[in-house]
């Protein structure tokens, strides 16, 4: 009896109900401090930098001006760059969906030893640095690269795919498709295989089963994978820098050039802020949409 009643007494180390509980804050404190120092401070510095003036003769001018933002937003040169960046983002994302989602599904249907082997093979590229992978593509796509020679041989094209949008898309898809595979894989883990059998038993064809039963259940995974791939593509640097070089600039490489070639730091900073805000807006809006759509049906089941 004594033990039972003691359960109901507030014990010494249990905080009274309404008092402010410090533990969650203490627990996430170190992470938050790290995050603020490593991300917040550079971000604030970038914002400050973007408000400086600049002239080619004098360099940095310590004023407060929106001139860099005006330049970045008005100049058609930058319009083209942003347009290219987001077009690449959308295109690469779509291709990753088309390639990655079926890939994940097929792998999930393999027998045990092969399943793990193929999953590792699909995710393996993540273990290799982006630069190395992209340089690999340079070898393939270059003027005497394997792919170029092969294309020449079948007569499809005689130009190398280097410095083309196609080449950039191919390399970016290769770099980012594992993220789509992981994301869809995680969603597939939650799908009860009996639902597929149920669809078949009710007379659905394989295709109808995939379209009406499997796809809707993994759609949240596809959508979150898309978000990751889109964000990564829109801010990608290494691959566009190597495959597209100066001829096909995207936002990240343009920023790099403003900082290091032109030395127009305020303009680089302004471009970086614009890229950040646009990315954040896209991601935020997309997330809202997805959340609203799936909270009810598939939520955290």
């Amino acid at each position: 009896m004594a033990e039972v009643s003691s359960l109901h007494k507030p014990t010494a180390n249990r905080a009274p109900r309404l008092r402010w509980d410090a533990r969650p804050w203490l627990l996430c404190g170190p992470g938050a401090v790290f995050f603020l120092v490593m991300l917040g401070v550079p971000l604030v510095m970038t914002v400050v930098l973007s408000l400086y003036g600049f002239s080619y003769t004098e360099g940095l001018i310590e004023t407060r001006t929106l001139a860099s933002y005006r330049e970045a937003l008005v100049d058609p040169y930058f319009h083209e760059i942003f347009l290219r960046t987001y077009a690449l983002g959308v295109g690469v994302t779509l291709i990753c969906v088309v390639l990655g989602a079926p890939e994940a599904y097929v792998i999930s249907k393999l027998r045990p030893p092969w399943r793990t082997i193929c999953l590792l093979a699909a995710l393996g590229p993540l273990l290799v640095s982006v630069i190395v992978r992209t340089l690999g593509w340079v070898l393939l796509l270059g003027n005497h690269g394997l792919v170029t020679e092969a294309l020449r041989f079948v007569g499809l094209t005689d130009r190398s795919l280097m410095y083309t949008h196609t080449g950039m898309v191919i390399a970016l898809v290769h770099v980012f498709v594992p993220f789509m595979v992981i994301s869809v894989w995680a969603a597939l883990k939650k799908v009860d295989p009996a639902t597929e059998q149920a669809a078949l038993s009710l007379g659905a064809s394989k295709f109808t089963m995939l379209r009406r039963v499997v796809l809707p259940q993994v759609l949240p995974g596809i959508l979150s994978g898309s978000l990751i791939v889109f964000a990564l593509t829109a801010s990608a640097f290494a691959t566009p820098a190597i495959i597209g070089e100066r001829r096909l600039k995207v936002a990240a490489t343009a920023i790099y050039d403003e900082y290091l070639s032109t030395s127009n730091w305020p303009l680089g900073a302004a471009l970086a802020m614009i890229l950040l805000v646009l990315n954040a807006l896209v991601i935020f809006a997309y997330n809202r949409l997805v959340e609203r759509r799936y909270r009810k049906t598939l939520g955290e089941a």
Binding site: A194, A198, L200, S201, L202, G203, K206, L298
Partner: protein, 365 residues
């Protein structure tokens, strides 16, 4: 020609045999239950009939067609899965109408059939809900409605009522039975609940370790279990060890401890097990029964009292109907009595299944 004919159906996973030599002919409109302990291969058997598991060997024929080349989505079988397998992204009514969509049944007929099916399982008010907003029993009923709405010629039910409360379960049992009798749907139902199997089926298949142990109608399964496993699995029983002895007069005597009982059996002069159902034993005043006993425990079960009594043959279970009279107290000395016909002799070694029994149609209903 039977409607569904399973011949030598086996499934092996590596060295492990999930189902071995399952042979059964099922008539059109028949209701067959598969009964057996967990892991004995019931779901695997259904899955082979449904076409989701490829048999290692054996044949399945439905309405005269060999099914091995017929894919699962062309078999037209209604299935309730053990895990329900509702589509989580569809509402209850969308789940139920899926099968009708596949059959291109549209408009008012579709709406009407969905509504009827949901009404049948008492889920009419839940059409707009998503599966995750339902309780386990409600999900199970939606799964049942989804399987029934397509009016399949063959229904495979994998523990379709396991999650329902006693009252609803009885309602659903009689609904299923009615549909099955009205429409003539051939049904195979897996269940863990022996009383469900006995009350609903035309025939009961008792399985153990992937093998069929006994195929018989419910009464026979209960009254004449083929071995100790069946008699223990289908209802409770007292198992007594005895010997058959032929005496000088040529009568067959059953020796049970001190007891000598003359029984009507071919004399085999062998050790036997005797199965005695608890409800066939009676507690009677001292001197009026076959065995003297002492009550060592009792449980009230509403309609009956469950006694445990200590006897010279060991502890026995005795069920007595609750007639409102005061029951026997713990420690009370009584006699136990039973009609000779209540004793069922079992082989001490399992017998191979009688093929004539497995292949034949039920001789009733």
């Amino acid at each position: 020609m039977s409607y569904l004919s399973l011949a030598g159906l086996s499934k092996r996973y590596g060295d492990f045999t999930a189902v071995e030599d399952f042979t059964l002919d099922i008539e059109q409109g028949e209701f067959v239950s598969l009964l057996g302990p967990s892991g004995c291969g019931k779901t695997t058997t259904l899955s082979m009939i449904a076409g989701f598991t490829t048999p290692t060997s054996g044949r399945i024929e439905m309405a005269g067609t060999e099914l091995s080349r017929v894919p699962a989505n062309k078999r037209g079988i209604g299935i309730v899965f053990q895990s329900y397998a509702l589509f989580p992204h569809m509402t209850v009514s969308e789940n139920v109408r899926f099968g009708l969509d596949m059959r291109r049944i549209k408009g008012t007929e579709c709406t009407q059939r969905v509504a009827d099916a949901l009404e049948l399982v008492r889920m009419g008010g839940f059409a707009k809900r998503y599966p995750r907003e339902l309780s386990g029993g409600q999900r199970q009923r939606v799964a049942l409605a989804r399987a029934l709405v397509i009016r399949p010629p063959l229904l495979l039910l994998d523990e379709p009522l396991s999650n329902l409360d006693a009252k609803l379960r009885e309602e659903m049992q009689s609904e299923l039975r009615q549909i099955q009798q009205r429409v003539g749907t051939t049904t195979i139902m897996v269940t863990h609940d022996q009383s469900e199997a006995l009350s609903m089926s035309d025939r009961v298949v008792v399985m153990r370790d992937g093998r069929m142990v006994q195929v018989a109608d419910p009464l026979q399964t209960y009254e004449s279990p083929i071995d100790a496993f069946v008699s223990g699995f289908v209802g409770k029983t007292n198992l007594l060890e005895g010997r058959l002895v032929a005496d000088q007069a040529g009568r067959t005597m059953l020796h049970l401890g001190e007891l000598r009982l003359e029984i009507d059996a071919a004399s085999r002069a062998a050790p036997v097990s005797v199965s005695l159902r608890p409800e066939k034993l009676r507690l009677v005043p001292i001197g009026q029964g076959r065995l003297s006993a002492r009550v060592v425990g009792r449980q009230f079960a509403g309609a009956a009292w469950h006694y445990r009594v200590e006897t010279g043959l060991g502890e026995l279970m005795v069920n007595a109907p609750n007639l409102g009279a005061p029951s026997h107290a713990n420690g009370e000395r009584v006699d136990v009595d039973w009609p000779l016909a209540a004793m069922h002799l079992l082989d001490t070694e399992p017998r191979p299944l009688d093929p004539a029994n497995a292949a034949g149609a039920p001789d009733h209903g």
